[in-house]
Symmetry: C2
């Protein structure tokens, strides 16, 4: 039985899920021994530790021109000491070109089978990947496991499913039979889905697999060869994924260079050289807006970007204001706000927030919000694991700067002690009050655990500002609290026009930061926060071209 | 009964046809009295004549700032004297913005119903549009009727169907129910297809409706408002279409400015000003490569272009060489080669073309080809009607220049007398022999009735050149003649990689220039001849953005 047949039923389910958009997950998100095995956690951790301080030898990429590696654990604040085989751009492109000649001729079904098989193998390494993710990104264990493991694998499967569906959307061959009155013109027609060529997928430092695998798998399933250029600060998690893809390719007798890892160093980045190479036709990128916009402007490339955004929360009215404060406190604390979907700007009417118990004044809500943050941060069984560690030192600088902003500081940021890692680089959220007039303060992304409480005249002003910020500076998520149906629809309509999904009235164990494969489109492409969306049809159809040939039928 | 219900069955059939890609036509292509009525032709001609020399008053666009019109009949070589209401760019954009506020809220079903209704009304004016097309483009009556009438309407219906399918591809609302072990998280999720805004559709002079309606209807069905900027030399055919769209909108109580006509003059073109307007988000364009590439490079726009290409014919082997010569002679003669799909470069091996009767030498094929062109041009019952007239005087200059090319002139171009229009601007094809080394001669589009017979070493060289030309200069069609299955597959594969559809071994009444709605994708987007394709999923999905909102389920 081939790999397509082996995985066909999962592929079918995934395609169905894409359309139903109800809950679907192929990879269990809980790191439960019952699912992953009693020793899976310990084994994964041991395997991760065994990689430290060594050459990473698992890739099928012989002839390294160099060995590069600069990762550092935010928990240990010391280098991992792992080095990866590095290659010059011409070598990477030559290998990708050669591999393309065979990969493009593999059928869509076989490609899908191979790629799902790689995910099954990656599943066997979820714990190893989780520890690799913790010690590169600073994520807490649970997020590292879920985001880099099952959630990423679900996103990858989603891309495979979306790509496979589009590749098989039109017939390979038909008889076209046109009545002309006295006779018929009969043509044999055929259509080929022609991949664009070499695809460059550029990773980021905070979600090194979750944000990389959609473009990676979308390009591969549509027949392109891929060069993965990881962030120099977070290589290992995606290196493990690439290794498993190469293992399956190799076992199938295919050239492992169909998917290559292209590590570089902070001092000698090869991203631009790769992106500008004329044979690189597709570019996926997650990262800062300046570089993303440069990539979008490169002529002759099809680009898919996720850049930065300014995410807002609109507070109008609520059933239970304490639950609202708790939910939002968790949202800004989760992974210390180092998420593209984390809220930053909290718009609160100067007259307060309406509740069944009466209006909650601005200051009272601010106090509840900061109390909830403190309560979470001070809880030794939750705080350190929810907050995780700070990936990049510059985030600490940004938090320090936020404390110098004009306006009342409701909560100062501080470090907390991590029970497992005494050297962990931690920071709790800073909460600053400002006014709607101070657009200069809140009109840019302040990446990290920074929350701005912005006093607005009313919900209309809040919505106007949130819409404008999303249109001009981008937004990936939005939170809104209102019990008024008309206000809800006004927010839904206005933010939709700014390409921004809104999470309404979230309380309890679900947060605006979260984004579910097979249901939530991640980023819309409709505002400056990015031009692409995981995984809408556009995300896959732009990776290949339909070409039809025809000939008189016998 | 609403317009959606009225047209739902046709819409369903059209969507089915999009996927089956077998023969489908909603609008009969033959101008038969049995279908269109006994007096339809005479009525249409009378209506067309009645428009001449007057203000065109059929648009719902009050308050003209100016009346502009410079069309000239290639058959009469005199102005039509029709003027159209002209507006400044701010007025056009203001009206489009205002109309957008309502149009975007009309459901996809209602939009589809309204747009199909407009096509039904256009159907009632096919003859009028045919005469308008003849006397602006120079097309013969039959092509003018078919291309601007039923074939254009089929392409428009195709765009409506493709757009409607994408708009309804994901659920409007679902319950997302995620098991969490002891409890479930239940969210009500909804998705909105958010149109991008104002769409600019720029027409061309040779196919003023066929090349305009796909972008026009694709943008409208996805909820954008459209400004149609026709070529100043070919306004009337699309003005009649816009008038009918506005009639239906108006009858439905909608703002006719949802679709506006924006005529300008050769001396004072408003295209750039419209294209660069920040509120114009979508641009469709058919025309020259320089302007198309400028449009593609505009930041913040989604562009759909059909530019120029260099179409090749590869001659390797054939069953019946006379039928091949006749078929290709017709292809270069049809509308005097003023088609983006017309062949230009004929690659013939120096050793000749293989046939069951032996090898046909280069010179013998060249003679057969020119004989067939002469035979068609000299046939008074066919020649004038197939050739039509020359739209643009510069095409005549180009033909004159072609006769000065180095290399044997197999056939000089000449004028022929049109039995109905003694002043018709006519030109028969010029046929020039050249060599594969003279890439400078054949590496650009020579728009018009110009055929280059290029002597190549063998089919491999021919294919290498055709592939390279398509990759570097674009190609919209390709013809190939071979009876060898291996050669066929090599051509099919190589040209597919250059994004070029190949018509193999066409003889008889079907030609490489022809392109059928619901079956043939027109242009692939895979080479410099254009970045878009009628009508693949990409052509519609890029016109709107999916935005999803969510909220705890009660």
């Amino acid at each position: 039985m081939g790999l397509f047949e082996k995985h066909q039923s999962l592929l079918d389910k995934a395609i169905e899920a894409l359309h139903s958009r109800t809950f679907f997950a192929a990879f269990p998100e809980h790191p439960s021994p019952a699912v992953y095995g009693e020793t899976a956690d310990a084994d994964g951790q041991a395997k991760f530790k065994d990689l430290l301080g060594k050459k990473f030898e698992q890739l099928h990429q012989p002839g390294a021109e160099n060995w590069a590696g600069q990762e550092e654990s935010p928990y240990l604040q010391q280098p991992l000491g792992i080095t990866y085989p590095a290659f010059s751009v011409p070598v990477l492109v030559n290998r990708a070109r050669q591999a393309f000649a065979t990969w493009r001729k593999v059928t869509a079904a076989d490609r899908a089978g191979i790629l799902i098989e790689s995910l099954e193998r990656v599943k066997g390494r979820f714990f190893e990947i989780a520890y690799a993710t913790m010690h590169t990104t600073g994520q807490g264990f649970m997020m590292a496991f879920q985001a880099s493991g099952p959630h990423a694998a679900d996103r990858a499967l989603e891309a495979i499913a979306a790509g496979y569906e589009e590749l098989t959307r039109f017939p390979q061959q038909v008889l076209w039979d046109k009545p002309m009155g006295k006779y018929n013109i009969r043509l044999k027609k055929e259509w080929r889905a022609v991949p664009k060529g070499i695809s460059l997928v550029i990773g980021c430092s905070t979600f090194p697999t979750w944000n990389t695998v959609p473009g990676l798998y979308a390009s591969l399933v549509t027949g392109n060869t891929v060069i993965v250029k990881p962030h120099p600060g977070a290589v290992l998690p995606i290196a493990l994924v690439v290794a498993e893809i190469q293992n399956v390719l190799s076992q199938q007798g295919l050239d492992p260079a169909i998917c290559q890892l292209a590590p570089d160093t902070f001092e000698n980045m090869i991203t631009k050289q790769l992106a500008e190479h004329p044979e690189v036709k597709l570019i996926d990128f997650t990262g800062n807006s300046a570089f993303g916009s440069y990539l979008e402007g490169l002529p002759g490339k099809t680009t898919f970007t996720e850049k930065t955004g300014v995410n807002c929360v609109l507070l109008h009215s609520a059933e239970d204001i304490d639950k609202v404060a708790a939910n939002l406190a968790f949202s800004v604390s989760l992974y210390s706000g180092q998420m593209c979907t984390a809220p930053q700007n909290f718009f609160i009417p100067e007259a307060g927030i309406q509740t069944p118990q009466g209006t909650v004044p601005f200051d009272e809500f601010a106090q509840k919000f900061t109390d909830q943050i403190n309560s979470l941060a001070n809880n030794p069984k939750a705080g350190p694991f929810v907050l995780g560690a700070i990936q990049n030192r510059r985030t600490c600088d940004r938090v320090a700067e936020a404390e110098k902003l004009p306006g009342k500081i409701w909560l100062r940021s501080r470090t907390i002690t991590h029970p497992q890692f005494e050297n962990a680089r931690t920071l709790t959220p800073v909460v600053v009050e400002t006014d709607a007039a101070n657009t200069g303060i809140f009109s840019k992304e302040l990446f990290g655990p920074i929350a701005l409480l912005i006093k607005v005249k009313d919900i209309e002003q809040a919505l106007r500002l949130a819409h404008q910020l999303a249109k001009e500076h981008g937004a990936i998520s939005c939170g809104a609290y209102t019990t008024d149906a008309a206000v809800r629809e006004e927010i839904a309509d206005t933010m939709a026009m700014a390409g921004t999904p809104v999470s309404f009235n979230l309380t309890g164990g679900i947060y605006m930061n979260q984004n579910a494969g097979f249901s939530d489109f991640h980023v819309t492409g409709g505002n400056p926060a990015g031009n692409a969306s995981f995984t809408n049809p556009e995300f896959v159809v732009k990776r290949f071209t339909w070409v039809g040939h025809r000939e008189p039928a016998p």
